[in-house]
């Protein structure tokens, strides 16, 4: 039995396999319509989420399975003080697979060590969000047709942005990837990730100037400054509008730039960009569902 807590647990071959499955689901959805018939997914969301939870639920329904769960900790036994370990053991009795989001970092790992069914980390605090990375990777695959030999700009909250951390972990394993890290000083990428890039000789540049580096970029990954990650409202207000992508800022961008965003967005991408063919963020949402379908099939060891 296997869980997915951190994207690095998947080998490059396994990522390729998931992408092949997702491509096949896109081409032949009917083939998969009953693949998980009789199986149940528990969505344990201790923190609000629209996209990720609905994406998991849609994924399971499209595989012919069913879904149970909760969408905020107040409606779970956590409100009574139940531990993550006990919740995981209990839910293992009801479901075949668990998707867990939790505001505390490491909670899905604790769940996976105690559950008797596979656990998927659907986001733990500012730490990891591997299924968002799967969505990002499928988007890059379908937009660029390759992994590697490109420059990826990551912009906004690189400190608490778990999607950024997971994406870097995944992409750094491909050759020819260069990272450009664009953020205000207070929201720089954590040292441990930079240490790992340095150690592995992967080129990266830290800057505060989005427009200055725009012409270099093949992919621009925008992120939101997340209010819920700040203990101090003043810091949030000071930093929230650091980077807003507008058509003017794209003036020097490549014609084949791909703009990604894990969503939800607040104001960091102007809606004027939504119709630009380089904007991929709504396609990314759709691809996320297909990758979650592929992942559920893999972890449940269902062969279609």
């Amino acid at each position: 039995m296997r869980s997915l807590i951190d994207i690095s647990e998947l080998t490059l071959d396994e990522l390729d396999e998931l992408i092949r499955t997702a491509d096949d689901i896109i081409e032949n959805p009917q083939k998969y319509a009953h693949a998980c018939s009789g199986k149940k997914l528990a969505t344990l969301f201790f923190e609000p989420s629209t996209r990720t939870r609905l994406s998991f639920e849609a994924a399971m329904y499209e595989l012919g399975g069913s879904v149970l769960g909760f969408s905020e900790s107040q409606s779970s036994s956590a409100a009574k003080g139940e531990s993550v370990a006990d919740t995981a053991k209990t839910v293992s009795c009801y479901a075949d697979i668990i998707a867990m989001r939790h505001p505390k970092e490491g909670a899905p790992l604790v769940a996976s060590l105690n559950a008797s069914v596979p656990v998927i980390n659907a986001g733990d605090g500012g730490h990891n969000h591997p299924t968002q990375t799967l969505a990002d990777l499928l988007t890059i695959h379908r937009e660029k047709g390759r992994f590697g030999d490109f420059t990826v700009g990551l912009c906004g909250d690189l400190k608490f942005g778990r999607t950024v951390h997971s994406l870097i972990t995944a992409l750094k394993r491909y050759s020819g990837v260069e990272f450009v890290l664009i953020s205000p000083n207070e929201l720089k990428l954590p040292d441990y990730i930079k240490e790992s890039l340095k150690k592995e000789g992967i080129p990266f540049l830290e800057t505060g100037d989005l427009e200055g580096v725009m012409p270099k970029l093949d992919i621009l990954y925008m992120t939101r400054v997340q209010r819920e990650r700040f203990f101090n409202e003043e810091d949030y207000l000071r930093l929230k509008d650091s980077y807003i992508l507008t058509p003017e800022k794209l003036a020097n961008a490549k014609n084949d730039l791909s703009i990604l965003h894990p969503l939800p967005r607040v104001n960091e991408i102007s809606v004027a960009i939504d119709d630009d063919p380089r904007a991929c963020y709504f396609k990314q949402v759709l691809y996320g569902k297909y990758m979650r379908m592929a992942l559920i099939l893999k972890l449940l060891e269902v062969n279609v």
């Binding site: 531990s83 993550v84 370990a85 939790h102 505001p103 505390k104 970092e105 490491g106 909670a107 790992l109 604790v110 733990d124 605090g125 500012g126 730490h127 040292d191 441990y192 240490e195 150690k199 203990f231």
Partner: protein, 139 residues
């Protein structure tokens, strides 16, 4: 300064000068009823100066703690006044309940029954990271 030799117990030797008190605290030696000597700044040919701790009882020393604080330490086990074992210490791969994660967002900060586990992330720089949230250990 003379400190009597011990009959049955351990001698923690070659402690980097200044780290003796930290080891004393982490090993919880203050809770022992027996004679315990912490000798600071002992002249040493190899190290210039060093700290030594002598514990005058059979004591199962947590070598993970020693390895984490100072992997060059040696531990001599004494029985009937003679050294019967010399333990060499290595940087442990994992530390359990030695350090606590300082990240307030870590699950180990909320759930009291979880063991505090740190994994060795960088052997050269002796960096440990929380098993749950990967936050760097603060020493």
């Amino acid at each position: 300064m003379n400190v009597d030799s011990i009959k049955n117990g351990i001698v923690i030797d070659h402690i980097t000068a200044g780290k003796g008190m930290k080891i004393y605290n982490l090993l919880g030696l203050d809770e022992l009823e027996c004679c315990v000597a912490l000798i600071k700044n002992v002249p040493s040919r190899k190290m210039g100066k060093k700290d030594i701790i002598k514990v005058d009882t059979d004591f199962e020393v947590n070598t993970d703690i020693l390895g984490y604080v100072d992997p060059d330490i040696t531990v001599n086990v004494i029985k009937n006044g003679k050294i019967v074992e010399k333990k060499t210490i290595e940087l442990p791969e994992m530390l359990t309940n030695v350090l606590e994660c300082k990240n307030p967002r870590c699950i180990s900060a909320t759930e009291q029954e979880l063991p505090h586990i740190f994994k060795l992330a960088d052997r050269e720089k002796r960096i440990y990271r929380c098993f749950y949230c990967e936050t760097k250990a603060k020493t």
